[in-house]
Symmetry: C2
Subunit: 199 residues, 2 copies
DNA sequence: CTAGTTTCTTACCGATCGGTATGTAACTTG
DNA sequence: CAAGTTACATACCGATCGGTAAGAAACTAG
């Protein structure tokens, strides 16, 4: 009963190719023809395997967060709050200016202004980003309860600040800042965030 | 010899309408038909008055930096370095989450990944952003020479940091953070940037 | 082999993209 | 008035957009 012609491409590898295209060109800037060319998959096969452009992007976003963006969830598991933040800041540098991958961040790039057609995609990206910041806040609240945060430091404030910093790193990378500059920036940011001030 | 039929629209007002469309939809997400509808200008009149899409965007970008984004150059004129940074951070909040204007920042939005067709636009936006950060660095170098900066603070590092923070504010605004949250973020950032630490 | 199933290939769909040719309307000058 | 100039409005251009119909090709099951 089963059988049928075997597919001539590896779905995961094709998804990686699609990720690279979306990452470097954005959602609106990517045409189906760009995807089929990079994935080595014919147009109808793409639709059969991954759905339409929006569904494909959804799958790509999942793969992004589990692959290159996986450091965000791993960083939260660090034992000390400072290590959490350090992992996020330096992870953002490697993600957005690392070798072999496009500059910038897929998530940051796709939450920006877009045409009405891409608005649902933007909304979903925004929702995922909110969830990410909420997870960081929760982690920092735990740190506060464990006495792992400077006393006057509000977890929500720090989560907002670190999110803004990692996003700022992504924008700088997209704008052409070098990896060296970004590493310097991450260091400055980390020092600033964890320097206990007079209040 | 001169004369001719007078134009039926105000070029500056039309440019403001174009700015609003580009601001809320981005460069790639904006179609010429979106612009003509918002500007109240027919298609050939638009091309005659402002050139093609890319030239129009260039003019819009100028208007953006002189209008809503004008606070960036004004902030540099503040007498104390801390006031410069404060003006930039809170100005970014008003720009990206103020009333009556689209969320986010036109410049931050257009420096992100885009299709090959829009790459020249992205490059120009990136160049302008680099120039803006360089101007801030120059201003902070002057502050250092005047003893207006904490002793261990490198102007280039602080300029990078403040740029990343304002960009982070813009991304947060695009992602749906409220003006209140952004004001809180700006305050936290300012306090941390100008809290002299142990080094 | 044949029947059934799934994928690949080619070719196409209507809609929209950025940009323009063409003719007419509105104005200044003489 | 007529001549010259500029901007208006309609209609159109080829190219590309996202998405699909139809049939050939490659496999499994009997």
């Amino acid at each position: 009963m089963p059988g049928g012609r075997p597919r001539a491409f590896d779905p995961d590898a094709a998804l990686d190719s699609a990720l690279e295209v979306f990452w470097s060109q954005g959602y609106e800037g990517t045409a189906i023809s760009d995807l089929t060319a990079a994935m080595g998959v014919n147009r109808p096969s793409l639709y059969a395997a991954f759905g339409n452009k929006e569904e494909l992007f959804h799958k790509v976003l999942d793969r992004y967060m589990q692959g290159p963006g996986g450091f965000t969830s791993r960083a939260l598991e660090a034992p000390r709050a400072r290590d959490v933040v350090e992992g996020l800041l330096y992870g953002a540098v490697e993600l957005t200016a690392g070798p072999g991958t496009p500059r910038g961040c897929l998530s940051v790039g796709c939450v920006q202004a877009c045409g009405p057609e891409a608005e649902p995609v933007r909304q979903e990206v925004a929702a995922r980003r909110k969830a990410g910041e909420a997870a960081l806040r929760t982690r920092l609240e735990r740190a506060r309860d464990e006495g792992d945060l400077p006393g006057d430091c509000d977890p929500a404030d720090l989560a907002r600040l670190v999110t803004a910093l990692t996003d700022g790193i992504a924008v700088a990378a997209a704008g052409g800042s070098s990896r060296q500059e970004l590493l310097q920036l991450a260091g400055t940011a980390l020092r600033m965030a964890f320097t206990p001030g007079p209040g």
